[in-house]
């Protein structure tokens, strides 16, 4: 049987992203393993099993071993890992949360990541996002699930300077969001960049 290779939904946008200036750079993140965790109560035994303290404060994320743990709801988290395959990651997380009454589901194919860096990316994002993204309230460790343009996204802040963000968007909305971001970043393209 022919091997099925996963193609990235934004392959056709690479050239357009490369034309963007350093002040508003968009980079497509490589595929990562992602697992959706549902768990009623978070105690110290979760850290023992998972190696990370699941954030219990709404709209935050914390770095994990080789990825991130993002708050999605009062009993729901999104865990990502760059070190394992989706199958390995799912079975490891499931083994950790199942005895605690939780569940783990592989959602690696659901979302793709876009890394937005540069001094003007906050201006690009605020064109279609109603959340206050000023680093004073949305610094490193903040996350939010909201609408960017017409697409539902998970937005993570990676720096306290407001110049480094990760946008997780559903694969089927990636093309729309890429077009929207390119349009929003248009004014920051200068002739010499």
């Amino acid at each position: 049987m022919a091997e099925l290779l996963r193609t990235h939904p934004l392959e056709a946008w690479h050239v357009a992203f490369e034309r963007l200036p350093d002040t508003a750079r968009i980079a497509v993140e490589p595929f990562v393993a992602m697992v959706d965790v549902r768990l009623g109560a978070v105690g110290p035994e979760v850290r023992a099993g998972l190696g990370v303290d699941l954030p219990t404060i709404a709209n935050t994320w914390v770095p994990a071993d080789a990825g991130r743990a993002t708050w999605l709801g009062p009993d729901e988290w999104l865990l990502s890992s760059t070190a394992e395959t989706p199958e390995e990651f799912e079975s490891r997380v499931r083994a950790a949360v199942l005895p605690l009454g939780g569940s783990a589901t592989d959602v690696s194919a659901q979302r793709i990541g876009l890394r937005l860096t540069g001094a003007r990316v906050r201006d690009v994002l605020t064109k279609g996002c109603s959340i206050d993204l000023h680093p004073r309230v949305f610094g490193r460790g903040s996350s939010v699930q909201t609408m960017l343009g017409q697409a539902g996204v998970v937005l993570l802040a990676l720096s306290d300077a407001g110049d480094d963000y990760v946008v997780l968007v559903r694969s089927s909305f990636a093309g729309y969001l890429a077009d929207w971001l390119l349009d929003a970043a248009l004014e920051f393209i200068t002739p010499d960049s």
């Binding site: 709404a58 709801g73 939010v144 909201t146 609408m147």
Partner: protein
Amino acid sequence: MQLIECPWCGPREEVEFHYGGQAHVPYPDNPAEVSDEEWAHYVFFRDNTKGRFAERWNHTAGCRRWFNAIRDTATYRFERVYRLDGPKPVTP
């Protein structure tokens, strides 16, 4: 745009939310013995209050949790949000 306060995420724009109808509609205690007319009342009949109304909302674009809210249907003002398992607040 109107902001709605999600009990988990905080104030967000109303486009992130979906309406879920009247809150506190009790499921029949003994469903097997309920007549067709009583079922119809449970399934289809809702209050049409002018003024403060307890209703269900879902934060669709955010944490996807259901919650209850007291909203004034005449002014659209959200007076209070509370969790699904909470009692219906007494409003003046």
